[in-house]
Symmetry: C2
Subunit: 429 residues, 2 copies
């Protein structure tokens, strides 16, 4: 039968054609390639035995087993939030166990992605402004696009988002009469996906101060996405941006157990300003009542038993070897190539590589076709990591992941990729 | 420090002050009452041992354990969707295993609530219209309110939403020039929360036909919420409304394992028209990438092993006893009271009771205060189950749940409630 016109909401229309969709499609079409594109975690690191044992434990505990399978609460059961607060206190090196942080400000979500999405829903009407580092996490760009946000890029370098650029951007928006539309500054503080860069210790309080200083016409929040926080392979962790937020009314801290433990278990941890607790809880209640709290119990129990901590140490040891393999291969394969450069990340899962401007890397580029069709290697085109409607966005970068491949796979992938890059440099892209 | 004005999105503002929030608040404030209000499931029925054993099985299977903890896919892993399709085929009594239903049309969600919320996000701009039975599931009213939908009630009786009333309402909207704004008809087909009523076999195809007939200016979908479908204690299940939708382009079927298995495990199953697959998948991808698929594996494995089927039989046997206890107590305690009537549900978890119009039952009513303060029993005021802005909504009804209390608790609760009702009838409310 013939059906009349399908009318979708504005939000649904804006949710179509997102970078992640194109990327997934390319991954399917190029399944024969060595993927340096996939943002998955290494399956070898996944805590199969630990999860099995821990599920057994939490379900066996007398009196609590059936509670775990009952409805819980929208933000996650309070006793669990207490455990997660202690874990956060450890990360923050707070000897007071963060006992002054009300449990009401903690949210357990379906990965940190859900908190990012809820926050976007809570803050943005179409045309409201979000400032993001350039480049930044492209999935959040899709979330912002879906709510109709106006995404404004802020220059970032090897030390993260530049405070001077943030000030300049906010001042410009103020001159344009648009400051009242700014809702959020989005910062991936540690080993950013895609750049691998962490915001330096010096810049952290500066970014926070700027969000506050420009909160003149309306409140500007700062979303600190610390998804990769625990995946540090060298050096010392700087204090979180959140730790500088004394009255805890500016920074939303988003963390996840997807990278350090398991993505499939879908447990994220957020800390939000008191003023956002009810709006976010109302939205989350509508969305799913609550996330799977059996899973939250499993992570909480692993935290309490400190089996989690042992596990994360193994995860770090595994990724460190792979990060080193990628950087060594980069030196070896790309070291002599003119105009090719990359960051040396201290953690996370990504190496960000710049090619000369004459070599575009997008899905439609000769370079991408050469890599996927001839050399059989796939990467994430860097241009996905900038606002789609930003004409000045760089188009000659690549996000390279060392998450999924073995060290040998990484070396072979990098060898193949260098072959494509050499070809592109010789043919002029 | 002083913070400037907090600006929230329209959606966040509309998400505040919802019925479920008020109800939870009352539940907390009246924790000393026997609750005939809570919509939780009976903890005695929760499959603690089964879940523990099944998690052990799925994580032990060689090669698959780590896959379960990795990222999956937005709609749930395809092999699992195949298992869920076979389960649906059983419910639908289809001997062909529904093999003509593309797996792409199946969604595994965080409870059915997430599908309801995603669908509302996908279809409604502010001012678009949803038709609902009066009364209906109040949580979905909140979801509709959050997206700014215009909620139009349609008369329902002991056989569900009245097709004549649906036709009349759609015709009226057409005369008013508003037919093009109608997006959805929402129908809880089995043992509706709150009324306990099922849509009769005769009416099912009629409601579907009307949605199609009036899809003149734009497509009108029908959301069949079958959350309680498997909790039938007497009689025979009629075919789903979805089963009459030959080209599967009108009905969205929403089911859940929250009632039959475990709410905490958060697994819902949806079947959606092909035209909605991509919009819903885009929205869900933004929202959480995917629901916890370890949990989906557990339910799928219990389905394959048929341990699920044994479990549901035990759940039904347990609730049947409690349903009977509530109906017997209703007969005994309320049988002689003038103007008091109730439905006799064949399944689900609720008995819907009407008092004379002279006895309002809302949170602010004398009856509610009497019940919670003096007789120490709590119910859900019926007025929550109608659109908040509908002036003509009935105000003298109650939703009584037999889900949580033991049979003795139900009898005592009903005795107490009858005492309040008698008081209200004598004092004139």
């Amino acid at each position: 039968m013939r059906h009349p016109v399908l009318r979708l909401s504005d939000q649904a229309l804006r949710s179509a054609d997102q970078a992640i969709g194109f990327l997934m499609q390319q991954a399917v079409e190029n399944a024969d390639c060595i993927s340096l594109a996939a943002g998955l975690v290494d399956e070898q690191t996944l805590p199969v035995d630990l999860v099995r044992e821990t599920v057994g434990k939490v379900l066996a505990e007398s009196g609590s087993g059936s509670r775990l399978l009952q409805y819980g609460t929208t933000q996650g059961p309070e006793p669990l939030r207490r455990v997660f607060r202690e874990y956060l206190a450890e990360l923050e090196q707070r000897t007071d166990r963060l006992s002054d942080l009300p449990l009401s400000q903690l949210f357990l979500t379906t990965g940190s992605q859900q908190l990012l999405a809820l926050l976007a829903q809570a803050l943005f009407n179409p045309g409201d402004i979000c400032l993001v580092a350039a480049p930044t996490y492209f999935v959040f760009l899709g979330v912002l696009q879906a709510v109709g946000a106006d995404i404004v890029p802020v220059t970032a370098d090897g030390f993260g988002m530049c405070p001077a650029a943030l000030r300049e951007t906010l001042s410009r928006l103020e001159q344009e009469g648009r400051l009242s539309r700014v809702r959020l500054v989005y910062v991936v503080s540690d080993f950013e996906n895609p750049s691998g860069v962490s915001v330096s210790a010096e810049r952290r309080p500066q970014l926070l101060s700027l969000a506050r200083e420009f909160s003149r016409e309306s409140r500007i929040f700062l979303l600190e996405d610390a998804a990769y926080r625990e995946l540090r392979y060298d050096g010392v962790s700087p204090a979180s941006i959140w730790s500088f937020d004394r009255d805890r009314e500016t920074v939303i801290l988003a963390q996840t157990f997807s990278k350090s433990f398991s993505p499939g278990i879908r447990v994220g941890l957020g800390v939000v300003p008191q003023s956002l607790v009810k709006p976010l809880s109302d939205l989350k209640g509508n969305e799913d009542f609550e996330s799977a709290h059996l899973n939250q119990h499993v992570v909480a129990r692993a935290l309490k038993d400190r089996t989690y901590h042992q596990h994360v140490q193994r995860v770090r040891d595994n990724y460190r070897i792979k990060r080193d393999a990628m950087l060594e291969a980069a030196d070896r394969e790309f070291g002599g190539l003119p105009g090719v450069s990359w960051y040396r990340p201290e953690g996370g899962m990504y190496v960000w590589m710049r090619l000369p401007d004459s070599v575009p890397t997008g899905f439609q580029s000769a370079m991408f076709r050469r890599a996927t069709q001839v050399d059989k290697v796939m990467y994430v085109p860097g241009e996905l990591c900038y606002p789609q409607d930003w004409p000045a966005r760089p188009r000659s970068e690549m996000r390279l992941s060392f998450g999924v491949q073995s060290p040998d796979g990484i070396r072979e992938g990098m060898r193949r990729l260098a072959s494509s890059v050499r070809w592109a440099l010789e043919t002029g892209g």
